[in-house]
């Protein structure tokens, strides 16, 4: 299992990649984001969240269903979700 902090760092890197080029103040976002920050409250566009999840699917070889999206609204929840997936599913 990937260590919590390591995974969140990796997830953040993927998130910044998804947001790069968008109308965001990434420096401010990087300063203010916390583990339990709500993605919507951070002002992240829903399509960029979708892009973020697509990248995660590719990186971790997992499938994120559309109905799971509303629950995955923060780094902490996303990490927990991924860890449960990675723990229960064999790598593709």
């Amino acid at each position: 299992m990937i260590h919590n902090e390591l995974m969140e760092t990796e997830l953040l890197d993927i998130l910044w990649e998804s947001l790069r080029g968008g109308d965001y103040d990434l420096n401010e976002m990087k300063r203010s984001i916390r583990s339990d920050s709500n993605f919507g409250d951070l002002g992240i566009d829903s399509l960029d969240i979708t892009d973020f999840f697509l990248r995660i699917e590719s990186r971790y070889q997992v499938r994120i269903l559309q109905e799971e999206y509303p629950n995955l609204d923060s780094m902490a929840r996303l990490r927990a979700f991924l860890q449960s997936k990675l723990h229960s599913e064999p790598a593709a």
């Binding site: 790069r20 080029g21 968008g22 399509l47 960029d48 979708t50």
Partner: protein, 418 residues
């Protein structure tokens, strides 16, 4: 009393410049924006084996520069989106537009394009990389929605698709919405970025483009000589990138805001041939022009310059000149006829609004731009077409645009009172 519609401000990106001033300066100096294609490598990136099409008009900056950065372009790889946002931002900044001083529901955003959205499709096809905004790229109204979103505009916002006449219809309709009292003002745009293998290849299949295949042709080693509207040796058009935007408003509303008035949109008309899909009907084109003159309340002799659609195809130019002769008769020897596509190429859905901007500049400066490379064609009715720029005071200009599908639009614009 009928509301008058005025053109408050405008801006453009063309193969001759990244704004109105540099586009106008180059055009008035008889320069051409046509050059070797370098958006892709024509000899290597052929669409379905289509022969080499070497020349086109391309805006003189990269798409990354247009977007503001490589990251922004990668995020949204459709140049029309960035172009429309850029032009809207410039115009609104110049006139000090602040939506809080207006009723947002009465400020519209209209636009027109023919083929835009092919570039993101091309990128997805080549890279296979998922793009969550891909469908938005395909929606031609997305650049308009982006402007509405950025500036808080809540009036009618939609894109008009009438091929090469698209931005002409958008201007015409914006004028009608203002005259009907449904809106106070609208940003009207036209945008087109067709210089990529699939568009070039598709037009070549129609035999519509100039093709560099004859060493004896005067443009074989000189791209600037390739676009030759109304000329005896015209051989098809030159695709071009371009985008234009104009902010139009009800005259009284514009005056109350203290906005400048560059020109008056006196009248317009639109019809369609209901016949051949690509060949212009000179009879219906003439009806369209007459309709615009009637709507503008002016006789043919009041028109002091004609800005023609004139793409440089054999049949199209002949049909248009026949229509013009039918309406104007001998007056066509006095009022200059100009074909801006000889300089900037054919920017399809954006072509009308680009011509409109150049026409207003021309009226303000007392200059009719050249129809580059013009050599008289004895098969066409006689008209005053000049390969050189003309010093010519004029206050009323007729503009034509004819799109695939046999869809026509003509507008009459008048120089703002000095």
């Amino acid at each position: 009393m009928e509301k008058r519609v005025v053109i408050v401000d405008y801006d453009c990106l063309t193969s001759l410049g990244t704004g109105v001033d540099d586009t106008w300066a180059s055009a008035a100096a008889s320069r051409s924006g046509i050059r070797n294609i370098d958006r892709y490598v024509p000899r290597e990136n052929r669409f379905q084996g289509v022969p080499d099409i070497a020349y086109a008009g391309q805006i003189p900056i990269s798409f990354e520069e247009l977007a503001g950065s490589a990251d922004k372009y990668e995020k949204w790889p459709e140049p029309g989106y960035h172009a429309v946002k850029l032009l809207a931002g410039r115009i609104f900044s110049r006139i000090g537009f602040d939506v809080s001083r207006h009723e947002p529901q009465r400020i519209g955003v209209l636009g027109g394009t023919a083929l835009t959205a092919e570039i993101s499709q091309d990128i997805v096809t080549r890279t296979g990389k998922p793009d969550t905004k891909f469908i938005l790229h395909q929606c031609h109204n997305t650049p308009l929605a982006a402007v509405a979103s950025e500036f808080g505009l809540q009036g009618p916002s939609f894109s008009i698709g009438s091929a090469c006449a698209s931005s002409g219809h958008a201007l015409f309709l914006a004028g009608q919405l203002i005259k009907a009292g449904l809106i106070d003002a609208a940003l009207v745009t036209g945008f087109e970025f067709p210089v990529l293998p699939v568009c070039v290849g598709g037009f070549e299949w129609m035999k519509a483009l100039y093709r560099r295949d004859d060493p004896k042709d005067r443009a074989y080693s000189d791209p600037a000589a390739a676009s030759r509207p109304f000329s005896a040796d015209r051989r098809g058009f030159l695709l071009a990138e371009g985008a234009g935007a104009a902010f139009v408003a009800c005259a009284d509303y514009a005056k109350a805001q203290g906005w400048p008035i560059r020109a008056v949109l006196r009248g317009g008309y639109a019809n369609s041939d209901g016949g051949h899909l690509t060949r212009i009907s000179s009879e219906n084109a003439a009806r369209c022009i007459r309709g615009a003159l009637a709507d503008a309340g002016c006789v043919a002799e009041a028109v002091e310059c004609v800005n023609a659609h004139a793409t440089s195809t054999s049949l199209g130019d002949e049909s248009e000149m026949t229509a013009l002769h039918e309406v104007f008769g001998e007056h066509l020897r006095r009022a200059p006829v100009v074909a801006n596509k000889s300089q900037i190429g054919h920017a399809l859905g954006a072509s009308f609004i680009l011509a409109m901007i150049l026409a207003v500049e021309g009226m303000q400066q007392g200059v009719v731009l050249p129809t580059l490379n013009y050599l008289p064609d004895a098969r066409l009715p006689s008209a005053r077409v000049s390969a050189e720029a003309l010093e010519h005071e004029h206050a009323v200009t007729l503009l034509n645009s004819f799109g695939f599908g046999g869809t026509n639009v003509s507008l009459v614009i008048e120089r703002a009172p000095q």
